[in-house]
């Protein structure tokens, strides 16, 4: 299994003056989703896009994924423009999106299977990620036999098994209950410590962003631009209970909430 692509530049992401609009119906004037968005993501950094719904944060993730091309500007990965989706960028959606005709193990090994990797190597990697995501004993379960949190663990393992240098996560824990969400966040951090990857994480949950991110990018309502970029000053490993007692956490949360809710004309 290839080592995490540290130092090769494959995990460096640049959004270069992105603007993006889309038209809903025929003849409608296009909706401007993103305006003048530029961001550089250091290799191995964890960046949270934070903003109200409809601010275009998922659009940015889709542009980096290659599902969509920007109306203007460039998205660069490792210095090369993104043209199409590819296995160098693993994705976890809000819905686990598991294939119901495959069991847990077969869902996890889908990526390597499509890439034609040798079975021995794939199973070794699968065993490793099943252990990391705490799915031991569930390998032959069908997706419909799993809880929401367990399904999302499978989705994590599936995105991660090929150890892509970049991970895209679109509100992956948004549909989970509060306790499950917290344990999934801790799980995510613990796996990142082992594997390392550049992460673009979309969320509207301020606590989640403060707990996970190296860099938080707060966005404005549509058309989405950067309102504020901030670096949570909490050392790792972070403990959620400790963060809650940290006055800086409360203060940052307060500032971010205000930044999100501040009306446009005050900029």
């Amino acid at each position: 299994m290839a080592a995490p692509a540290a130092g090769t530049g494959g995990g460096r992401v640049v959004f270069d003056r992105i603007a993006h609009s889309f038209s809903v119906g025929n003849g409608e004037s296009p909706t401007e989703a993103i305006a003048d968005f530029s961001l550089e993501m250091e290799e191995g950094s964890f960046v949270c896009l934070l903003g109200p719904s409809g601010c275009g944060k998922s659009t940015l993730l889709n542009l980096l994924a290659g599902f969509d091309r920007p109306s203007s500007g460039r998205v660069l990965v490792g210095g090369r423009p993104v043209l199409r989706p590819g296995p160098d960028r693993g994705i976890v959606f809000q819905e686990a999106n598991l294939l119901p005709w495959r069991n847990v193990l077969e869902n996890i090994t889908l990526g390597p299977e499509l890439a034609g990797r040798p079975r021995e190597e794939t199973f070794a990697a699968a065993r490793r990620f099943i252990r990391l995501t705490g799915l031991e004993g569930f390998e032959s379960h069908a997706p419909y036999e799993l809880s929401g949190g367990m399904r999302q663990r499978v989705a994590l393992a599936r995105a991660w098994i090929t150890e892509p240098p970049i991970l895209l996560m679109d509100e992956p824990f948004g549909a989970l209950d509060a306790q499950t969400r917290l344990s999934m966040q801790e799980l995510l951090v613990s796996i990142l410590e082992v594997t390392g990857a550049t992460v673009l994480f979309v969320t509207h949950d301020v606590d989640e962003a403060l707990f996970l991110a190296d860099v938080i990018v707060v966005m404005t309502p549509r058309p989405g631009r950067i309102r504020q970029t901030l670096v949570p000053p909490f050392p790792r490993p972070r403990r959620y209970e400790r963060l809650l007692l940290n006055p800086a956490f409360t203060e940052l949360k307060h500032d971010i909430l205000q930044a999100i809710r501040r009306p446009e004309y005050e900029i």
């Binding site: 599902f67 989706p85 590819g86 959606f93 999106n97 294939l99 119901p100 005709w101 499509l114």
Partner: protein, 275 residues
């Protein structure tokens, strides 16, 4: 709890009584059929209707016995059933083999759909009886024209079902596949086809029903064997008992075919209907 004719009925509104346990449900169905047959028998005994118009169950049983031993028109009863099944399967197997891939392709490629759709939508609702004169002219009065009539009904049903199944492929699944680096071919094989399987089964199930229905039309085409023909032939001799026997055989065989497909569906697409 709701009462119907004074009977307390547990419905889907009652939290704990959503489904009847398998055996109990079957027992109730069986009792219902037995009760119906008893009423029919009683009606015949009391002379409520003419045996010529509605022969009592006993008479039908006797005719059935007679036909099991002597056959109908010199041919044993099982032979007629076998001939009819043969025609249906002779039409059904090519209908599945051609209909599934072509239907899926129509669902995947809009251009192909645009080319074929006008013909499909024209022929599908057309009563297949209307085609009989042309089919006889073109294919003659042999087996080919009978099988063709059943084929065209089943084929169109499968085509439409499979096209809808493929074009309704979940966008999230396609994105997932693409993000994992799947080629177009791999997307078709690993995402579109397995995802369409439940609906393919549903369309095949519908097609068996439609095909079995068309059988009567097909056996009106100069046949001298088959259950459908037996019903038509017996009616012209006022053998209502044989007509009823034929109808019961047609219904039962169709029911059994459906059960077989549902069983196959449970084995091949066990995830269907589960969240």
């Amino acid at each position: 709890m709701v009462r119907i004719f004074g009977l307390r009925m547990a419905g889907i509104m009652d939290p704990e009584r959503k489904h009847l346990r398998g055996v109990r449900g079957a027992a109730i169905s069986l009792a219902s059929v037995a009760f119906f047959v008893f009423l029919w028998f009683l009606g015949g005994r009391l002379g409520l209707f003419s045996p010529l118009l509605l022969p009592p169950p006993g008479e039908i049983c006797l005719s059935a016995l007679e036909m099991f031993t002597d056959g109908y028109r010199q041919l044993p009863l099982w032979y007629h059933v076998a001939v009819s099944l043969g025609r249906v399967f002779g039409a059904f197997i090519p209908a599945v083999l051609i209909g599934v891939p072509v239907g899926l392709a129509m669902g995947v490629f809009p251009v192909l759909r645009a080319i074929l759709d006008p013909f499909v939508q024209f022929f599908r609702p057309l009563p297949k009886l209307a085609l009989i004169p042309l089919v006889i002219l073109w294919l003659g009065i042999g087996e080919v024209s009978k099988v063709f009539l059943i084929f065209i009904s089943a084929f169109l049903t499968i085509l439409v079902g499979c096209a809808a199944a493929a074009s309704g492929t979940d966008q999230g699944r396609l994105r997932l596949g693409r993000a994992l680096g799947a080629t177009d071919r791999q997307l078709l094989r690993s995402i579109v086809f397995p995802g369409a399987l439940p609906e393919i089964f549903t369309s095949v199930r519908l097609a068996v029903g439609v095909g079995w229905t068309t059988l009567i039309a097909a056996e009106m085409v100069a046949a001298d064997t088959g259950i459908g023909w037996m019903v038509l032939n017996a009616s012209s001799y006022m053998r209502t008992d044989i007509v009823m026997l034929g109808i019961i055989l047609l219904g039962l065989t169709g029911y059994i075919l459906d059960l077989i497909i549902v069983a196959l569906q449970r084995i091949i697409v066990p995830w269907d209907g589960k969240a």
